[in-house]
């Protein structure tokens, strides 16, 4: 197990600050929140927000690798929050349409002589 510390050393020395990853994660979070993820998927939204904050802290500390990992995880949390939001909307649409159909059926049954 001598490879891991060596790797870490090399990575820290040669990794530039993940400016692009941070921007992508921030954009994903903004997109998710615009879709209403704070209400539909509050846990994932909060986690994405927290990871992005920690990624910025790490970047400010000069820990590029940690910043990159947190940014990538934060991006996926944001994507998951938005996906869960969309899925919740789709499930609601199923319920709404089925309820409308039930009402329509009831109406027809009442009108039938």
């Amino acid at each position: 197990m001598t490879a891991a510390p060596l790797c870490l050393l090399v990575a820290c020395a040669g990794t530039p600050l993940p400016t692009a990853e941070l921007a992508v994660a921030a954009a994903a979070l903004a997109h998710a929140e615009a879709a209403g993820s704070a209400q539909a998927a509050p846990a994932q939204t909060a986690q994405a927000r927290e990871k992005l904050r920690l990624a910025r802290v790490a970047a400010a500390d000069g820990d590029a690798l940690r910043a990159q990992r947190l940014a990538q995880q934060g991006e996926l949390d944001a994507l998951l929050a938005e996906s869960l939001t969309d899925t919740a909307k789709a499930r609601q649409a199923v319920l709404d349409t089925q309820a409308a159909n039930a009402a329509l059926r009831e109406e027809m049954a009442r009108q039938r002589p």
């Binding site: 996926l76 998951l80 996906s83 869960l84 899925t87 789709a90 089925q98």
Partner: protein
Amino acid sequence: MQTPRSTPHARGLPAARAQAVAVPRAAHLGRTGLVWGALALAALVACSTPPTPHPRLAAAQDDWRQLQAAVPPAATVAPAGPEWREAEVALARATAAEAAAADPDELEHLATLAQQRVALARSALTRRVAEADVAQAQQTRDQLRLAARTAEADRAQRQAQTAQRETSQAQREAQAAQRDTQAALRSADRAQRQASQAEGRAERLAEDWKALNARQTERGMVLTIGDVLFDSNHAELKPGPARSIDKLAVYLKAHPQHHALIEGFTDSQGSEAANQALSARRASAVMDWLVGQGVAADRLGARGYGEAFPLAGNDSAGGRQMNRRVEIVLSEDSRPVAPR
């Protein structure tokens, strides 16, 4: 730079790790031309690591297996989307990292990413199922609306047909009532006309008989024509104005149902046989004349009775004149008159 995404940037010793991480990807892509030395190194490192599974990665792999089992078998939705492939790739990377005994932080990071990718795939599958359900429910809704509209139209048509049937029924009844009324009116009219016609016929008949100076007897109406028609001892009709016989011809033609028997009579002067013959000839002369006027012969009959059936005594000139005569008996119905 240890993530597979940045593999091209790996240099020196980390290259071995990078290659090791790349093994599943390469296998996944079907590429086999890898550096065998790197593989051997990776295997060596793996073998030297105690086989304690990474808890987060194990959780991610478990999630993934559960998700595979959750895919509807009927394949109403295609589970494999971009999320599915991303999850497969992320899991492969983390598994390879574990096999290569990667740096714990890196392995923790890759396991976290794999877990998130699996969660994304799960959400995507759930969403696709929901979208398919929505599409089906909308299709059902369209069918229901169509059925509702059809039922509505059918109902309206039935109502219209019922109304029309009732209207036509009422019209037919009204027409029938009108026809009945008209028929009754016509019937009454006809009865009245027939009554008035019968009355008129009876009146005309009575007038005609009066004009003929006929008298009613048991045998029928009898018209007596005196000796003015013939010269003495002759049987030829004499011409003359306003004769009763002319009126008789008109009457017989106007009433074709009546029959007539013409009877000739004489006084008692001369021989009985001669008188009989003379009276017969005179009756026949009258009958021939009537036939000549257009009266059918089968309605007529002629007989001579000579001196028989005198109306008065033959001992005076006045009596003898009354006995010289022709009598015409008219039937009241369509049967011939019986002779005396």
